[in-house]
Amino acid sequence: MAQKLTRLKESASQTAGPYVHIGLTPNLSGITGVYPEDLGTRLAGEKARGERIRVEMRVFDGTGTPVKDTLIELWQADADGLYNSPSEARGAADPHFAGWGRVASDMETGVLTFETIKPGRVPFPDGRMMAPHISLWIVARGLNLGLATRMYFADEEEANAKDPVLTRIEHQNRVPTLIAGRNGNTYTFDIHLQGDRETVFFDI
């Protein structure tokens, strides 16, 4: 017998359920007075550097029906491509930009809206630069494990064409599912959980 590897197993995931808002956006769900404001509602302070953008996302199930009980968290670099994280070793990120945000679907329309700044570029482990992107984590009733994906930007065609993550997707006809369209300062991003237009999700 060899020595035992004394590693623990990760706690198993369970769905966030239909009432995830009670815990993660209580003010939005009508539970007021517990926290001053819902966490993650403001990504960029007034002094944050960079181009201010608005993102509108919608989530659809496999029948094409809008999902109205989703919660999405986003994580992104600042305008210079630095993360506001203790694990960021390359320099200090913009102190006026949190980089992390949380938004719930509108319970009537299913639309999720957030205001942020357009992220700068971040290197892949081999040093090649990735195209600007926002990492997304999606939970909802019916999702047993949070889904990971990325949102890229339609007006970054050249960078997207060389992105180390996008270029390793075998079925290149699925890459457009990760690219948000631009209209003025608003990007729109539709997430399809299942079916012909299924969004690319990651195991990372």
């Binding site: 926290y35 070793a89 949190a98 482990p125 494990l145 699925r174 195991d203």
Partner: protein, 246 residues
Amino acid sequence: MKNEKPETGAFFQRDRAWHPPMLTPGYKTSVSRAPQRAPISFPGTLSEITGPAFGHAMLGEHDNDLTQNFARPGESAIGPRIIVYGRVLDERGIGLSNVLVEFWQANAGGRYRHKKDGYLAPLDPNFGGCGRTITDEEGNYSFLTVMPGPYPWPNGQNDWRPAHIHFSVFGHGFVQRLVTQMYFEGDPMIWLCPIVNTIPDRAAVEGLIAALDMQATVPMDARAYKFDIVLRGRRSTLFENRMEGN
């Protein structure tokens, strides 16, 4: 153990055979929400290795006391008073300091304070159902609440959730993000539940069942349940000449 310097190693691959699969027909809502195509893998980049940090300064006085944080002055939530405590560890057994832990639950009668919950059990005017805390230097957390009740849900004709508390946990990297549910030792409803049964491995379910701990109980006040949460481990940089993030 206190880390001198934040770690920058990539995370261990997630064991997706241990977690519930996305498609679990016994839990009906998963059927039209489960992706059908395989997820794509790539090596952890800075976007995955980094994650947000939260300071203790954001916490209010009663954020980890659900018996009080929604109660009118001088009143308290109704139900069996319990302390829930434990550690947030990673797969290497290292306690994760300064990570945000959020929790939400139904009241003692199984009713959620949410406009979509129409269950006939009444709301408790002194119970909101949400709380949060941040782990200490060793990864410890604790909160006070009332034991939630089981409740029926429209899945099968007669499906009931076991008593449970939802947990949302941050690690030190964004891909450690986890939501799960805590169940209570000895509850016969656990093994009947279609959501619990999305998990293929019995040992993985047992990892979500909090143990009654009479030693941590406060006599004449509140019983205690211990619930440790394990997040993904990460590779240590054993050799300095490795590329960063590998």
